[in-house]
Amino acid sequence: MSEPVLRHAGVNLGGTQDHPRANAESGIFGFWVFLMSDAVIFALLFALYGTVVAATAGGPRPADVFELGSALAETLLLLTSSLTIGLAVLAMKYDGTRRPVLAWMGVTLALGVAFLALELHDFATMFAQGAYPTRSGFLSAFFALVPLHGLHVLAGSVWMLVMAAQILAYGFDARVRINVLRLSLFWHFLDVIWIAILSVVYLQGHLP
């Protein structure tokens, strides 16, 4: 034995069933803990946004600059991509060949990139309306919170490409399996954060 065999409760990660699950367990568990730490960052940015949403300093107010239609489209894109990354993981578990996994990951990546494009378009529109981050405390908080989520989506997309390359290079070895699983966790996490952004930022911004 040279490499510790990796395994996780939910997904078959190794060839046989007789090794202790400890290594894969701690790998996935550690990533969960990391996500919780990341969630604290988002929680604080949400709290901060809540305290300064009215500090518009005479500049644009939330209802002036948020387009709900666009936010809805972004939501649908991201939610669909969460489904497709889930299908990629299931394909890895039950099919085990490269083609379906890569195909579902490709769809996920395309949806993610479409989300990013739409979000950038939103930002450009806001800038054109004079809603840029240096204008007020409210816009500073908005442009710290929402683009940070966007940066996470970007990181996830790059990660998707890296995983695709590794699947092509190594097939489904233990590390590829565990990292695909982590990637899907990350992607679902971004979904959860986006739902919070949609509710706290976009929908609340249009409340009377």
Partner: protein
Amino acid sequence: MQTAHPPIWPDVLGRFAWHDLPFVRAWQNPTINELIGAGAGALVIVGAVVTIALLTRYRLWGRLWSDWLTSLDHKKIGIMYVVIALVMLSRAVVEAVLMRMQQATAVGDPGFLSSDHFAQLFSTHGSIMVFFMAMPFLTGVINYVVPLQIGARDMAFPWANAIALSLTGGGAALMMTSLVVGQFSTGGWSGYPPYTGLAFSPDVGPDYWIWAVTMGSIGSTLGGINIACTIFKLRAPGMTYMRMPMFCWTSLCTSILMIFAMPPLTVATALLALDRYLGFHFFTNDLGGNMMNYANLFWLFGHPEVYILILPAFGIYSEVVSTFSSKELYGYASLVWATMAIAVLSFTVWVHHFFTMGQSANINAVFGIATMTIGVPTGVKIYDWIWTMFRGEVRFSVPMLYALAFMVTFVIGGFTGIILAIPPLDYVFHNTLFLVAHFHNMLIPGLLYGLLAGYTYWFPKAFGFRLNERWGRIAFTCWVAGFYLAFMPLYVLGASGMARRTNEIFEPDFRPWLYVACVGALVVLGALVSLIVQLVVSIRERDETRVFAGDPWDGRSLEWSTASPPPEYNFAVIPRIDARDAFYDGKRDDGYYRRDARYDDISVPKNSVTAIAIGAAATAASFGLVWHMWWLAVAAGLGIVAVIILRSFVRGAHRVIPSAEVTRIEHRWHDALAAATPIPRHCELTASNQGLAEIPA
């Protein structure tokens, strides 16, 4: 202010001007103040040059690189953390002495340090002591000890462990760089805006602070995740949670606090950076900024941080008191509950850092009561240690002396802590030297004594020989005497209304107390020197104090059941645990040590260049950001991403230690065990102690 001095090559060197070198400033304006600055910068350069020369002279570069810098072994990473901590401790103690000397000489007089220089001193002193002394010290000790105590071969994520170390080291390097190029922040260790915002501090100082602290903070988050996962997932079979050594419990609580409390700091510094670099309005005075948000974010980190610092020391005291009383730890369950209670409560008290910010009396009262509540589990812990000594056989060796000094001194800090927790009294003592005395009274006995006790206690485990006892006692005496002399006067001065961070004093009645405090600071400096002498003397006489057999103190937990120093793989056979003090009881029941004819292959992580490359790139990126060398920041940032991606393609990151090698190492140790003479407890400080404990009949 470098704004008055034109940058010499903005495209490449950003906003660097010749005037940013302390040597140039001292040449142009040779006052004592500037000469001290230039001297400190020169010391950093000379130190670096001498280190490089010595490494080259003794051809140690190869060993340094392959045995240490690229190693993923948790024991080596732990030791490197502690080395960083001790280097930074030396700098911060010298800064403390300079500050006390300035105050003693500045009664009705400007003193010898400029106001700006004094402000940099208290800012670096605080930032270093918290982020680059205390944090690396405790992380290092946890790193070294916890896997050994739970019967594991390494941390859960050895590579992330090395990255955390390199980020912390990079932050410390950035702190040192600020002595040589430019200047540090004058905004204190808490960096409160709007003072640290662009409008009031346009220089590089706050940027040094932001990036050094951010690197330390991210490193600590990674470290916390790693420690928690290690304890949750890698315990030896049979080691249930309630069978873990107390140090593991406190490390677990500390790591959970790190996971949840470091992100608020990262957010606070990142938003301050957005304010400073991109003109955002989080904490500015204008356009809807609100510095109260910073205070809340910072102390959402800052208060749990206090317990991040103190809990591991509580764990060390538990181990030390129990071992040096030859007795089971009293009230294990109540200590566990008290630790958990402290960890949870630590998130509920942050407002007590700004009772004076104008919120309602009811809010203040609620947070005041929550704060006092933490006193209960803390008091319980101290009694648990007292009852551990009760009906024991107490040996007054250096770690135990630290533990006793801690109990008696810490309770004074608790006393004044309750006073500061009461809002009406905090209105009077807040921001005065009373507060300074209080938190030093918590952190010096509560944290530093604990870590020094741990250093003395586990040193023979890590290096195979004991530290010199006599110099240890001298250092101990100086630490304790120096502490009382330096900080008791500050309580008096604070109660007399003297504000903290003052470089000039206009009240002659304060003079005698400032003198006493200055003498105390010099005694503390003596303590630091004694520690260095102790290390040198101990290394020289190491052949008489070797404890290769591994158990010099009749230890209780698993780390003492290995050789000193332990082999790379820690345990040739993962132990099975059936009781809390498995090793202590095992020694008494059936001899514990078992020699097998042959051992299995063991897989350990290979060395990796990538971790230190990430740390170096992060340091370069931070330096680039500080000086507005955008090309450097971008290149180094992309470098980090590239290294992470490349590393993810690496396969075969483990190396196998073959059975024959393991067998040879284990048999050598068992031969030494068989040859060693078991010694009774009253001989443990003599040369006869080879690391094998005599079991009384």
